[in-house]
Symmetry: C2
Subunit: 197 residues, 2 copies
Amino acid sequence: MALTKKEALLQAAKDLFGECGYNETTFKKIAERAGVAMGLMTHHFGNKEKLFLACGLEVLENFLVKLRETTSKSPNGLTAILDYCKAYLDFSIDPSTNWLVLVRCSPYSDMKTTADRDIMNEKFLEIHGVLIDAIKRGLEDKSIVPVDPVQTATIIVSLMVGVNRTRVLTPYAPDGFYEQALEFVKRAITPVPSETR
Amino acid sequence: MALTKKEALLQAAKDLFGECGYNETTFKKIAERAGVAMGLMTHHFGNKEKLFLACGLEVLENFLVKLRETTSKSPNGLTAILDYCKAYLDFSIDPSTNWLVLVRCSPYSDMKTTADRDIMNEKFLEIHGVLIDAIKRGLEDKSIVPVDPVQTATIIVSLMVGVNRTRVLTPYAPDGFYEQALEFVKRAITPVPSETR
DNA sequence: CAGGACTGTTTGAGTATTCATTCATGCAAG
DNA sequence: CTTGCATGAATGAATACTCAAACAGTCCTG
């Protein structure tokens, strides 16, 4: 047996939360897909929200690792930013990452603030942090136009959020959409060669 | 009496769908807020999904009117695009527009395709259409850099989706975030004054 | 005008279903 | 014997939707 029952449960939950969203995913579906009894879920994870949190955190953690790995290899600030974007988009369309867990409806979608939600928010801040660092590199090595790092990072992450949603949730994304989005980012932060030479 | 019961019901539904999302909004809550009996909902709207569709379409329709009005007054292509973005963001933070109905979890958030969903999608295509036209204007009057209109429109709309979500659903948006996002768009599509003269 | 059918609105208690969670019990390893 | 993993039927709460009955207007007719 490769997976423990707990692991099988978590994997099934990630698959189903990503396919169906939080509300349409029932304990019964998860237990069936994982091939274990329903009661194991509350036993191992406490309740449905906690289970979802475990799924989300795992996906986010893998995502962070990928982003850090990627940007650390980039030769300068500008390419770090563009590599970050590319890594973001690549990760988001790789089915094995269970990215959709983070995109579909979650228990945190409404306003009620919970401790669990705060844990997720902190992780998301780290996602921003990686890009902020890349932008600061770009400012130092002058490979990008002068901008506020936090503002610009937030905007670029927002752009990633938006193009990703368009690509995975709607039928509007044209061919080569992600590539064009990268071009768009590049145009917005590449220094103008005004003194051409 | 200013509102008919049917109107009161629709308004209460828009408020609550925007506050709580689709799943957390119950018939009981809506009926209570509107001050009418529960049975009236199915009588007037058929079922919960239809009611949601009515809410969403009304918001989208108002949105479209605003976008068309705005871009038609702009003096050239570039300003039409930027005015479009500004109108988008303004609309999205005006509580009286019930914009949040379109942002929170909806019955269309999962994959099952329904006829209702297609109706919404068509309306969203019109949203894109307005921006595509503005970009085409910009290409003709040379107020923007040469780009593919459909690709660029999709990217800019995606950027609006992303920054709006960041602003209204998360705590990450810094002060002046929307203004900076507009600057970002401007930088990405303004022609470079390379032949400085 | 009276009144009586007819039509559409309004009500809220009732129904059927779904689903997260509980728990009594079984089982296996140390 | 004890401890923790594992089971799945039972429980109870939530909720979308139904429906029979009350109500209100409108139109027709003698």
